[in-house]
Symmetry: C2
Subunit: 219 residues, 2 copies
Amino acid sequence: MGLREVKKERTRDALAEAAVRLFQEKGYAQTTVAEIAAAAGMSTRTFFLHFPAKEDVLLAGGRPRLDLGLAVIADRRPGESIAELLTRALDAMVSDVWEKDLHSGLAAMRAQLAATEPELQARLVHRLHATQSELADALLRACPGELSPSTAATVVGAVLGAVHAAADASLRQGDPPARVRAAMLAAPGVAADLLRGTTKYVDPAHPTWGGTRHGHASE
Amino acid sequence: MGLREVKKERTRDALAEAAVRLFQEKGYAQTTVAEIAAAAGMSTRTFFLHFPAKEDVLLAGGRPRLDLGLAVIADRRPGESIAELLTRALDAMVSDVWEKDLHSGLAAMRAQLAATEPELQARLVHRLHATQSELADALLRACPGELSPSTAATVVGAVLGAVHAAADASLRQGDPPARVRAAMLAAPGVAADLLRGTTKYVDPAHPTWGGTRHGHASE
DNA sequence: TGTATTAATGCATCGAATGTACTAAACTCT
DNA sequence: AGAGTTTAGTACATTCGATGCATTAATACA
């Protein structure tokens, strides 16, 4: 690695460190990008040279983590069910969270900041949504013929929705990292259990409903 | 209703109408709040007097819709299972979407704009997340002793995650409103079916795992 | 009719984010 | 080693969303 890249990473780290410190001291919204840059001894412009937006400081490992999940889905084992495949993908991603963000307390800080700063929360949830789309696409490619695009999106949405909500609730309760991880891993199963009795309305691919349950006399 | 409130609503409607029109013509990000206000014959400042933020123009019916779901959950029928309760709540909210946003094409427009404007997408997904929190709280109150906060959040996250992803995918395919509604209503069932085989790791409330499935020799 | 609300405006300001031109350092090639 | 090329970082200006504040004008109420 050349000296140029080393320096680049150094300034990036300096910015990230200053940002996290200031966020903890003064809160996310109360910390301006100008202050972060000044604390790191950089110009404001430089911050945006390294991070596309203010919140990206808190999302460093997001992309590689997503790639872990995508890789698992991409080489689906022969005969593996969709549930098993998603479980393995979740396992890989949660393990990464566990090693990186959970132990270091970064996840807890993120959750705490997000709980009080709606602006930040919006950005974080958006990333989750983008992650969801990519995973759904990968799942669709890995299971040709087995799933419609809509169905793939639905199941991935359910899994990530459950996992994220579980992690969020757990972190907000102040649970220790191990329990947060347990909640994340258990989330899809918990959700599936509780939803077992959900009324099946109609196959979304064949909307030939009779309208017996709804008062809308349409179609 | 007094004349004052009538006028207030009139300016609000004028702003909303101008905004939607401009969004369709030029795109969300390309339309400035100043332009919206000017097109409605108002000052820029007035816009923010009626809408807390730019994206709120597209989320007019969000709050009353959420209240519908909350009301259903609040008076849970005796002996009703959680799955049934959530199904009824979903039914109420989706019926409202169907009547208001789906028929009018507002939902389709929202989805189309969100697909191309990440900024808007972030805001919309954030609202979804806030909705999720309130529903989880209501569910927890409606089922005392049956659910932990974490479990309530998990199941609500799964349902809304599935429904939202289903709606999104369906709208993005250009499905007609009826099919979008069908996809939304079927989403929890579809997700539950596909997740039936999900490995149950451990009850998140009692993380007494033996660590047999994971390579992390912790605790 | 006189007084208190309050919707709406104008103005100033902050902060995030982007474009552009420029400097200085690091890389590359001979 | 030196000339030329790339590129990280800076300075400056600008756009736009959002908020605070003082003011105006219309409505509501007594």
